[in-house]
Symmetry: C2
Subunit: 202 residues, 2 copies
């Protein structure tokens, strides 16, 4: 069986991404696997694919808001609440994740989960570099260095390259999971992911 | 508990609709409920919502083809195969379902399942009125009357009104299920539907 990390692509402005973030590490751990947390920018990806933010889609928009809350209840994620500002640009928190990952994948996961919680539980606008850095600081990271990372040209480049690589890998939504080359889109594929990881395919 | 029929909206050209059609009657029966089979035309609905057929969407198109086959395997639907012509206009089979429903909901379900199987198992192009009527005949219906129903202005009107009513009810995709006013989009909400029907909501 493969021991390669499970690739977990997410946008910080994605409610289903937040819910998936509550589940992916435990799913991987049940099968002795780790997770590579990969922030993406749906805004950039949608420009390539013609997609648009769910709330803007006729009929699907109102349905989605209802489904966000219902899916959270269904999955036992009791602390989810829709942020008052939604969607948001997610460059700042994404760059902080890439910066944290320089010290290892676990650091990336830790700061990503803290940022997700700040937005979808605490209703904090993490698109603000100051707020995102403050959240990183509260999660045990160097807040000043995190704030500097948001404006660091190397981090900007790293994020741009990350998103381009995601697009090249066929990633078009959030959450998006790749297990040993097999792509899965959506929180509602986690049942298939679990079976795939435990059996090596079906 | 409610005993109202579960509303099952589907387009004959929808692979996930076919898979859902294999499951919806059994799901309802487990909870003492019946199903109202409601054919829709995604082409008309997409003109209102800006949606487009999955195969045409960049990145999502190739992913979807892979996901159709994988989801069929995951759900134990072993006879699914992508038709050689896809997607197809679904006016002819939809009008035959509305015609059959005049003798009762069970007749509508029976002919709908036969038509779905002809397309997604038998690779027959049911967009052809002659083929759709022949399939209805093989399922025990009057093939000549079924063929006439396709061109019957009353059936054309009935289908138009059905699709308008679906749009007004917020239906934007296939399959789409409404349980006691609660809307669920997609085969991947069948787990939520099952819980909703058994508990009356969550």
């Amino acid at each position: 069986m493969s021991t390669a990390p499970i690739e977990f692509y997410f946008d910080f402005s994605s409610p289903y991404g937040y819910m998936a973030a509550q589940k992916i590490d435990a799913l991987a751990a049940r099968h002795g696997r780790t997770v590579d947390w990969k922030p993406i920018l749906l805004g950039v990806i949608f420009r390539a694919t013609g997609g648009m933010p769910l709330p803007d889609v006729p009929l699907k928009g109102p349905y989605s808001k209802r489904d966000f809350a219902r899916s959270a209840r269904f999955h036992g994620i009791t602390d989810f609440r829709m942020p008052s500002v939604f969607p948001i640009p997610s460059q700042a928190p994404s760059r902080i994740v890439l910066w944290a990952k320089r010290t290892g994948p676990a650091a990336g996961a830790t700061v990503a989960k803290a940022l997700f919680r700040a937005y979808f539980v605490g209703d904090r606008d993490i698109s603000s570099p100051d707020i995102a850095a403050e959240v990183a600081g509260a999660a045990g990271f160097d807040a000043v260095a995190a704030r500097a990372a948001v404006d660091d040209p190397a981090m900007k480049d790293a994020l741009r390259q990350s998103v381009e690589a995601a697009l090249a890998a066929g990633v078009f939504g959030s959450p998006f999971v790749v297990v040993d080359g097999e792509p899965f889109w959506g929180l509602d594929r986690f049942d298939q992911i679990e079976r795939w990881v435990s059996t090596g395919g079906f």
